[in-house]
């Protein structure tokens, strides 16, 4: 029963998650929220990898690739949040527009 999840539905779900992540990245101005949108985009990509891995004749290459993607995301999140904290200590704000305008003055 579980094998009958159509591939298209999973791909469509990941397309929806991807566009929600793009929406978050474009409309939000708090640096941490932009990072959360990027996490959503990474999750959509991972979902695609795992979905196709189910049909892989060479068994689970997609799952292994998604594991590496998760590792890279963890490294990215750690470094990005450290940078956000330093920027907040320096500019006293995490709003990207205010940071840009303070940088220019």
């Amino acid at each position: 029963m579980l094998t009958q999840i159509p591939l298209e539905h999973i791909l469509l779900l990941s397309a929806v998650l991807f566009s929600l992540g793009v929406l978050a990245v474009i409309t939000k101005r708090h640096a941490v929220l932009v990072l959360m949108g990027i996490e959503l985009i990474f999750n959509a990509a991972n979902l695609n990898l795992v979905a196709f891995s189910r049909h892989d004749p060479q068994l689970m290459q997609g799952q292994l690739f998604s594991l590496f993607v998760i590792i890279v995301v963890a490294a990215e999140a750690a470094v990005a949040l450290a940078i956000v904290l330093r920027v907040y200590q320096h500019f006293k704000t995490a709003n990207l527009n205010q940071i840009v305008s303070k940088e220019n003055t």
């Binding site: 579980l2 298209e8 539905h9 999973i10 469509l12 779900l13 397309a15 929806v16 998650l17 991807f18 566009s19 929600l20 992540g21 793009v22 929406l23 474009i26 409309t27 939000k28 101005r29 708090h30 640096a31 941490v32 929220l33 990072l35 949108g37 996490e39 959503l40 999750n43 991972n46 979902l47 795992v50 979905a51 891995s53 189910r54 049909h55 004749p57 068994l59 689970m60 799952q63 292994l64 998604s66 594991l67 590496f68 998760i70 590792i71 890279v72 963890a74 990215e76 999140a77 750690a78 470094v79 949040l81 450290a82 956000v84 904290l85 330093r86 704000t93 995490a94 709003n95 527009n97």
Partner: protein, 170 residues
């Protein structure tokens, strides 16, 4: 059926993450999205990926993000709220992305491709767990990316700790 419940949960909480203006609510709805994506991984015979998703995303990345929210905004005043900008552009671009992706998926009709139909999903369904297979693969075919990933994690964590330390006080 279970898949559609978790898919709806993921989409609804993802949409709430985008729509809400409160940073903490956005963080917790991202938690719900990540949990439902982990559940979908289980339904796709990817139990090890699902557990890794739970441990790394929910246990690591999300805790980091919540710390980032708490350290980069004063929770009691207005700065925990975030205003939305470029709303028209954002909605139109993401709608275009969604329509383009959906049209591509519909046109490609992956289910009718021969290698998808020939794929033997019974092997995965018959196995109890993917852990042994992934372990063997990591130590044979994927040993170079595995080692590079460990190096990347080491460098990233050292770099993050170095960036986050206050240089004036040390």
């Amino acid at each position: 059926m279970l898949f559609y419940i978790f898919a709806a949960l993921a989409v609804i909480s993802g949409a709430y993450m985008v729509l809400t203006r409160n940073l903490l609510y956005a963080g917790f709805s991202l938690l719900l999205t990540l949990l439902s994506v982990a559940a979908i991984y289980v339904l796709l015979f990817a139990d090890f990926v699902a557990v890794t998703q739970l441990m790394v995303y929910v246990g690591g990345v999300l805790v980091l993000i919540l710390f980032g929210i708490m350290l980069s905004s004063r929770v009691h005043d207005k700065s925990v709220m975030s205003e939305n900008v470029n709303v028209g552009w954002g909605i139109s671009i993401s709608l275009l992305t969604l329509i383009g992706l959906g049209y591509t998926i519909w046109q490609a009709s992956f289910s009718s491709l021969p290698w998808i139909q020939q794929a033997n999903t019974d092997i995965l369904a018959g196995q109890k767990s993917t852990v042994q297979y992934i372990g063997i693969k990591l130590m044979t075919d994927f040993v170079l990316p595995f080692e590079i990933a460990s190096l990347l994690l080491l460098i990233a964590l050292m770099g993050a700790a170095y960036i986050a330390t206050d240089k004036q006080k040390v």
